[in-house]
Amino acid sequence: MKKFKNILILLLILLPICTLVFKSQFLNISLVPKANTDSWVLELSYDEVKDIPNDPLKLDKNFKLPVPKTSHSQKVTYLKISPESKENNLGSENSSNAESKDKVLTAHVKTFGQKQIQPPTDKKLNKLELRKFLSLPELNEETLSQLNTISTSIVFETDTDIEKLKKIFFYISDELILQPNNDELDDVLTLKSGSYLGQARLLTALAKINKIPARIAFGIQILEPTPKDTNRYIRVLYSEAFIEGRWVPINPHQKDFGVLKDDFIVLDKDAGEHAQVYNDRNLFSIYIKPLSFRAFNSKSFLKKMKEKPVFWSYISLHRFPISIQSIFFGLLLIPFGTVILSFMRVVVGVETFGIFTPILLTLFFLETSLAYGLSFFILVVLLGLSQRALLDKFYLLAVPRLSVLLALVILMYTGYAILMNNFGLLANSAQDSLSYFPIVIITVFIERFSIYFIEEGGLNTLKRSLGTFAVSIMCYLLLSVTSLKSLLFNNPELLLLAIGLNLALGSYKGYRLLEFLRFSDIESDEEAPGV
């Protein structure tokens, strides 16, 4: 029997792992669907050594790495520049110096995507800024006259700034072809084609001729990562024009006016003279990789699954309607929460209220959120305890007493919701957290807790509560890992693993860790003084 059990455990643990390997290695099914990434690790570096000093065009002594900033379309969560000493060394500039290595900037950027055009503001540019953003670069006569000709041919004097800009935008997006490496304005004009930089230069120049402040901005358009290569992006130099009190991005090649594409990271809103360097792969390098993701792309996964052998696609949970999918998405991981529970009780020796109370609490936290759930729970339990102490004085029979307690918990729940609503907070987090399910858990917990408190005293109750909370928070942390949920959802056979692990834990005969503490005094030969 023992042998059979051990073989079973081994089988239950190995089988799901083998199917995972089989699926990923032989059937080429990815274990989790492709993630929709929204956070990126960005690495920017500038190789100064390659900046050839005798090439006046490329020499850019004042170049500094662009620092991505938080704005309405992106959030910068982490920023580091290394090596730091670089700035101080500028005085004794020496390219052979060992310290003048590449300067690297690392940032974590979360993109939101711009859903709508920014509203106009009353902001005005000051004189200095006006001069800067209206002054044309040094151009030869011929180029300037060409620009003026174009401008007069497409724009009317009576047009508003926005109309003028739009006309310029359409002119460039319709008439010009993208031509890499064609950066210079005169070339763009003669060849009717240009790189991102060339097109941006043309647009900016045309805007400036029409007395609209404009500048060249720089960012990267992130492309969908492939399994082999996550570092996929396009360097985009585009224009920004100042109209009605805000800077409006204009990217004629990608046909974006006012809003940029979703997966776009803005690096420098005022590239100015550095634009040339930004555009140079050899001097200025960019590396991106996904950091986190918001959700999994279930649809495309199912599409891929359907190309696989019939059996695997037949048992895929992605075939369910979305509403049912979401149930299984959370459900399948719960047995792994119980693995943690078993481990904590059997191997560590933590004491908890009841056997499954920690798991029920975990479900409660999952349905609300940890911070909200925990604080609300503790508050309600404390209030409930005092109410129960009062009810104890009435000598009520057990079932009606529990029912009164239930009604009181619901009453507190309602009061809480009213309060939240009046503070206008209900719309956000609380809305999801108000549900039927937790109420019974809370009521039963109050009852169990208060009896334990009366019977076993405060200290023992506190120990047990801490144990219960600790285990449920650990389970919560496990159960809220989206990629794990997705892994289980795609490979439900992993449930066998949970059974195997629990069988193994159930066969554990060794000491519980806390027993070492409990029996720690057994060897001390002489007794401590009494009292």
Partner: protein, 318 residues
């Protein structure tokens, strides 16, 4: 692994190596339900507190008043309770022909109203204190008096002697002394004192409170080590007799010393705790192994049958 070399039995090993393989689930009700235990013990003429009467439904509560007419003291216990929870003690009964005027004095010298006691009984009946929250029964039992031997080493409650037996052989034993911290109750995890007992002589050895060694009772400051329990051989044979009628192979017996009636069995326990090892500074494991070797225990029945005398002789060699 210090604990392993001392032969300390851990909780997992207790369950997996002894309780599950050696105790048959179908015999549990006789131990988990104290009314059944009491009846079996009486049938086998084993000394135990008298069961006055029991209540199994809320409807019977109204007859309670009539039934206690003749009683001067009693103990109320949930039949399926655990760890001494839900026990109420009426040390004195101030009986009045009117229900409302009847009152009780508890061991803590507090007065309890009739209504409060009835509430307690109904809570017990509703399963508040039962092992798994099921409907429970209430037993009204004889209250035992304190043997003068314990006068100076206990606080309020009645001390009891726990004997752990394996196939009827006493394995280890300890005396449990209530303290102010334990609220007059004998539960070690609530702060009662546990004293190891030398199985051969009944002499008290080490003492612990809250898993820490102590030398004197914390409330009375009386030194405990070296005292010898009276009627030790009677206590041992009583425990062995219990094991023989219970059909539970790994069990604990709780025995109380009554000054007049001598050792009395208070209750049986199918899942005795492990702190007894701390009080004796000894592990259970080597002793249990010896018994297994001697008896050749396989499939819940021992190969060798020992007489009561032999069992006690065997245990005295530990």
């Amino acid at each position: 692994m210090k604990l392993k070399s001392l032969g300390i039995l851990g909780n997992n090993s207790r369950i997996r190596n002894y309780i599950l393989p050696h105790n048959e689930r179908r015999h549990y009700p006789f131990i988990d339900n104290k009314i059944k235990t009491s009846k079996i013990l009486h049938k086998a003429s084993i000394q135990s507190p008298k069961l006055y009467f029991s209540l199994s439904s809320h409807g019977e509560i109204k007859y309670f008043h009539e039934k206690i007419k003749e009683l001067s003291s009693f103990v109320i216990k949930p039949a399926k309770g655990a760890m001494g929870n839900g026990i109420a003690i009426a040390k004195e009964v101030h009986w009045d022909s009117l229900k409302e005027d009847t009152s009780f004095v508890t061991t803590r010298r507090e007065t309890m109203s009739y209504e409060a006691l009835m509430y307690h009984i109904s809570s017990v009946l509703s399963g508040l204190y039962s092992l798994n929250g099921q409907q429970d029964e209430v037993m009204i039992q004889e209250l035992l008096t304190l043997d003068p031997f314990f006068d100076k080493i206990t606080y309020q409650g009645v001390p009891d002697i726990r004997v752990i037996l394996f196939y009827g052989v006493p394995v280890m034993s300890m005396l449990r002394l209530p303290t102010s911290m334990s609220g007059g109750r004998g539960n070690l995890h609530q702060g009662a004192v546990g004293c190891g007992i030398d199985l051969k002589t009944g002499r008290l050895t080490y003492s612990i409170q809250n898993n820490k060694a102590i030398s004197a009772h914390p409330d009375t400051n009386q030194k405990i080590k070296g005292l010898t329990l009276p009627l030790w051989d009677d206590i041992l044979s009583l425990s062995v007799a219990c094991a023989e009628v219970s059909n539970i192979n790994y069990m604990g017996v709780d025995i109380v010393l009554d000054p007049v009636k001598g050792p009395m069995v208070l209750e049986l326990n199918a899942r005795p705790g492990l702190s007894i090892q701390l009080a004796n500074k000894q592990g259970l494991h080597p002793r249990l192994k010896k018994i297994e070797e001697r008896l050749g225990t396989k499939n819940k029945t021992p190969n060798a049958e020992l007489s009561l005398r032999e069992k006690i002789e065997f245990s005295k060699k530990f």
